[in-house]
Symmetry: C2
Subunit: 286 residues, 2 copies
């Protein structure tokens, strides 16, 4: 989408991970990709200028939010500058020549396994083993030369490691999309279809949340998502992460945020960016 | 809290798991406890009358909601009949005689490991291995007679397996509480301090959530928690799980719920029960 020969994009996982696929769709192919093992690694890489951008999954349409990344957005204070929605196609991947009925162990990220629950149930007696990344699971199958193990991962990961796809599209529901956010110190302004992400907290009195949402309702600003997260060390108190349609430069949005600042006990804009397009991942011959 | 000689309580994990500790505090000790390996196992045990009650964690004050159990509450349609908040004290547990500086691998449930992040960082080069249950991690250390492994779990689990506590209270923050819900076909009515849990969805128009919360705000009904979960197969549409102070038999609550039924596209009461007390877990000599 964006051509940036100088860009270095940090992502969690190994080459062939869904985060890498999403990065390749969002940025032009010439962008350099930097794998990290943890989500926090993505944030610290951008913070320390080892990368110009980071990409992290924030929500899957079937299994819900990735809360760690909500927490990290606030902790690292790195602005959200973009979004992309990747259609997730999971595949059962094994060493060439391995037959389906020989599979006894299946390796993948817990989220990927949970998105293929129905398919895996039908496999009968197989052990599910969780790995920190889907592409890493494929690598383990290859490195171990396993004849009774398989991985759940992308077609790209199968291609990269020269493994066979035993069954394609094994996710329980085809409307399986993961929404990724781009973080960067280089803030942008959305050219079209703007969206804003904020985080706020309210006092614990009846009607406080209602009043906070009222600043948007009275201005016909459409809310896209609300997510609550605990406030660390203050049991049963919450931060609310809110996405709404609109640009912080628009008058009605500026007014709404000004009013929210008065109503809420805390408020921070996390980013204003172009709403993400829905894309299918492609397989690249490296 | 409740004396029920005939009660059979299903919980996830093994004896010594925090769920078991919470069940022992909520019910009298004579209640029979039935361990299951999954949260879904707790729900199906109650549904199939193999247990009279189930207990599941719904939220931790540091790490947030256990979303799987939100989904299961709706899927199984088993009413919530009670609540308890257990103070979680994590301990580093090893075989007797094993010294702290010999520990190279630490086993526990991912949530427990993440609640001890700071302590574990200070341990230096140790491998963290996730297990489905904290008490099961202790059993593995004992069964494997490990001399370089330790578990993060309750004092009860250490006592049950005859293992030593190398360090007590290793959680990053002392305000570490887990809120558990009791589910049962035997609905009760709260004697005092009532609380109601509901789930609803709204149409995707500006102000829809604001209007839904308005039915509570106009009646001064205090909201305790809101949690959003994806609607399966409908990307970026959500169910809202809401807890509020009040009893469904009170007129203002009945009116609010009647009005919400008209405003929302879907609404269901998940339970009306007594607000949970905050308790410390005790160690029982079995």
């Amino acid at each position: 989408m964006k051509s940036m020969a100088e860009a270095k994009i940090a992502f969690q996982g190994e080459m062939g991970a869904y985060s890498e696929l999403a990065a390749r769709e969002f940025f032009a192919c010439e962008a350099k990709l930097c794998p990290t093992t943890t989500f926090e690694g993505v944030f610290s890489s951008v913070k320390n200028d080892e990368s110009t951008h980071g990409i992290v999954p924030i929500e899957n349409s079937l299994t819900g939010s990735i809360h760690e990344n909500y927490d990290l957005l606030l902790e690292y204070e790195l602005p959200i500058t973009g979004e992309i929605k990747l259609r997730i196609v999971h595949n059962l991947i094994a060493n060439p020549g391995v037959r389906m009925d020989r599979i006894r162990r299946i390796y993948s990220h817990p989220q990927a396994l949970s998105q293929c629950k129905e398919f895996l149930k039908k496999m009968g007696q197989v052990e599910l083993i969780t790995v920190y990344d889907t592409a890493a699971a494929v690598r383990m199958i290859r490195d171990g030369q396993m004849r009774d193990g398989a991985a759940v991962a992308s077609a790209q990961a199968a291609f990269d490691y020269g493994l066979a796809i035993l069954r394609a599209g094994i996710e329980d529901n085809q409307r399986n999309l993961t929404r990724f956010l781009i973080i960067s110190k280089q803030e942008t302004t959305p050219a079209s279809d703007p969206k804003t992400s904020i985080v706020f907290s309210t006092s614990n009195v009846p009607g406080a949340l209602h009043k906070s949402l009222g600043v948007f309702a009275t201005r016909y600003i459409n809310l896209l998502k609300i997510e609550s997260r605990p406030i660390y060390g203050r049991p049963w108190e919450y931060l609310f992460y809110l996405d709404f349609e609109g640009d912080t430069r628009e008058e009605r949005c500026r007014e709404a945020l000004d009013e929210l600042t008065k109503v809420a006990t805390f408020m921070k804009v996390l980013g204003c960016y172009e709403k993400g397009k829905e894309v299918d991942g492609r397989v690249y011959e490296r």
